[in-house]
Amino acid sequence: MKQRAVTDGLLMGFFWLAGLFILVVLLAIIAYLIWRGGPFVDSAFIMGSPAGLPLGSEGGIFPAIKGTLWLVLLALVLSILPGLLTAAYLSEYGRGGRLADIINLLVQSMAGVPSIVTGLFVYALAVVSLGWGISLLAGGLALAIMIFPVIVVSTREALLAVDENYRLAADSLGVSRFYTLYRIILPRAAAGIMAGVLLALGYAAGATAPIMVTAAAIIASSSGALLEPVMALPYHLYILFNEHISMNQAYATALVLVILLLLINILALSLHSLQERINSR
């Protein structure tokens, strides 16, 4: 009996440890980045361009911020419509059918494709074959393909969470599925859909591997020219560290990147809670 109590105690301790470990990791990461990078993040850092010798050891990261924003915008524009249409098909038009099952499977498999392979594909397709070269457009395309399945999965979930009774009532009035989707389902699920899209955009903003091979350059102006290479925050971080340019700048860049993504995540989480509250009304 005592043996049992001891084991039980140890187990409980382990479970608590495991639970708190998660918290400790997150706090440690944030705290460490603030400690090491905080002192170097100021308005000159955010608004300025890379400077110093070697380039990047001083100055700022504004072109990288711009580049990331361009890439994410492009990824959004290219993936949002196919993503929403596919999700709406899976939840409203094809639900339960054979085709929908197949498409669902294909999309979920796409979600597992390593991002470097997506980059590889777009490299061959766009950078080489289509002759775009290392460019913003190619990077945007790669990121769009990467986040497309993420958008489909989360949008479909948000649509399916809408009360089925609404569809029944609308159907019995003889209105079309599109009308019901447009007037009832979509508005009702809007917050949840936005949460999913935000998370997908955050994922795109932080992705390095696909843009490394399709769009990113060590130094660029990131003016928004589609066929020019761009700087991007994650790649900039990688270069600052890998090329031993500057640890301080690296920490500062990492801090900016993480804060940006945490803000996106927090916003997405609040939208998600909002959606849950709406669904339970």
Binding site: N165, S172, L173
Partner: protein
Amino acid sequence: MNAVEIINFNTYYGNKAVLQNINLGFKSDSITAIVGPSGCGKTTLLRSINRTAEMERGFKSQGDIRVLGKSVQEVKNVSAIRRQVGMVYQTPVVLPLSIKENVLFGPRYYGVKNRLEMESIVENCLRQVALWNEVKDRLKRPAAQLSGGQKQRLAIARALAVEPQVLLLDEPCSSLDPAATGLIEELLTQLTKDLCIIIVTHNLFQARRIADETVFMLEGEVVEKGFTNILFTSPANEKTRGFISGLFG
């Protein structure tokens, strides 16, 4: 003429037979109640008339259903059927819109754009379900704020807004209190003037109160159909007698 005719109608769910050999006629300008124990197929029958039963996977049917002389199986545009045959469900369902927009949901789809016309539709339908006076000052408020009984009346108003010829109700009062039930029963008797009303109910008293004719179903088959008074006082069939006296169901 019968507004709804069901001819040699059978339905299957997968391999299981749900409805067997249904032959029924429902007159316009009257209320017909369908009673019977749980699982006897009442709801399936109702949903077959407006062709929402087939949305379940594995559903098959044989035979014919005619609404106002036209076969519902053969018609190409299902939506037209659903306009002619309104349906009200057991759980009061209001769309997540304002009270006014709930009523206008169907009409907007069917092309009504004129503001005056829309206002008159809203007032007309809400009056028919005795809701107008209760909500006329808050038409733009969310319909979700209404009470259960009010929601159900709104659901009926919504169905009426597309000018159906037949109104199907599937146990519409089972989640409502007696006062709300009474209100709905009263408005149904008034709506009969223009509509063929078919109401599924497990409440025999309700059937006695409002139905002109009653159909008794058991295990997917029609056992007996007749004028409500006669069915309840001197039923022809042994099983009907048993059901009414509470032996089973």
